[in-house]
Symmetry: C2
Subunit: 194 residues, 2 copies
């Protein structure tokens, strides 16, 4: 089994060897090839997915068929529709692989079991959800307060490792822009530097 998870957990929490093994033993590995879906709207999200390799997009489709990216998730990120996963109701979101991707999966009952038996794991997730909420609020702020190019600059700062890896039209979608507008922003930026 990949040790990406081990490194991640050791980095983020203090777990005993036995606890690590319990967590690992409940995980099921899965491979999602580029362009394949891990989840579709209407389906119920059944797993917590930890990405050990590759990259995915979490997105929704608007009534007019346009795709809007909620988030990207590469190595050491979690990709799932929490709302569906925790409520058992159908998902509003799609999750698809942007590259050949490897994930580790746990069902929600398995996760609950881990929470109850491993306090440090419970604490880790409290922290993660809490941070995710803060990050989400920050994104709301930049989205409502900034112009298109401020949003793009913020994205560059926050996710430098994603640029070059993710097609620009998907970044545009994440930022709430059309691909053409993003092209023009980048063009203007280049002009500025000369």
């Amino acid at each position: 089994m990949s040790n990406a998870l081990r490194q991640y957990l050791n980095d983020k929490a203090s777990l005993t060897e036995a606890e690590l093994q319990t967590i690992e033993s409940l995980a099921t590995p899965a491979v999602i090839k580029k362009r394949q879906h891990l989840l579709r709207a209407g389906d119920i999200c059944r797993h917590h997915n930890f990405i050990t390799k590759g990259c995915m997009k979490v997105y929704r489709l608007a009534d007019d068929g346009s795709e809007h990216i909620i988030k990207f998730a590469a190595e050491n990120w979690w990709a799932n529709d929490r709302e569906s996963l925790l409520s058992g109701r159908p998902s509003n979101s799609y999750i698809a692989a942007l590259e050949d991707t490897e994930v580790l999966q746990w069902t929600n009952p398995q996760f609950e079991h881990l929470f109850q038996t491993i306090p440090a794991f419970d604490a880790l997730f409290k922290r993660l959800v809490s941070r995710a909420l803060d990050a989400s609020q920050n994104r709301i702020y930049t989205t409502i307060s900034g112009t298109a190019d401020e949003r793009y600059r913020q994205f560059l700062q926050r996710y430098p490792d994603l640029i070059g890896r993710i097609p620009l039209h998907l970044i545009a979608s994440y930022l709430g822009l059309t691909r053409e507008t993003l092209t023009r922003i980048r063009q203007a930026e280049r002009a500025e530097k000369m």
Copy 2:
């Protein structure tokens, strides 16, 4: 002491009378008059604030001095800068009263103590933070995917109790619009219905 908290907690969690009393006994009431601040950017957020009466805005100031509303909080809502409260670092946000407002306050150590001694309280907050994260992601989606008037309609649906209570220019700020634009959207809506 106000029993708004009691009703809220009984509604959201199963707590014994003794647990309720513990929670209440640690709370400090405070009154914030209309237009007064509960928190300013640069200060450290020291309390979890539960609103028992009134209404507040949580906002940030952009470099150009413009105000952008992160959220509104009326009765039975929590208003604080979580990032500052949990990290101990200075806040980026302001919190101000839109009406004369009464809150109950707990320090973070008090909250941690409650989490550790009252499992149902811990579970309640896990749920709250989790839901808040889902709501935040949903708001991001509507913000990046919708037009100004779709965002406004969504707001009406989601927070019908806030309209009429909160000045329109603040709602515009929440939606990432200018007040003039919101006026025009509402005008168009009215025209539509005739």
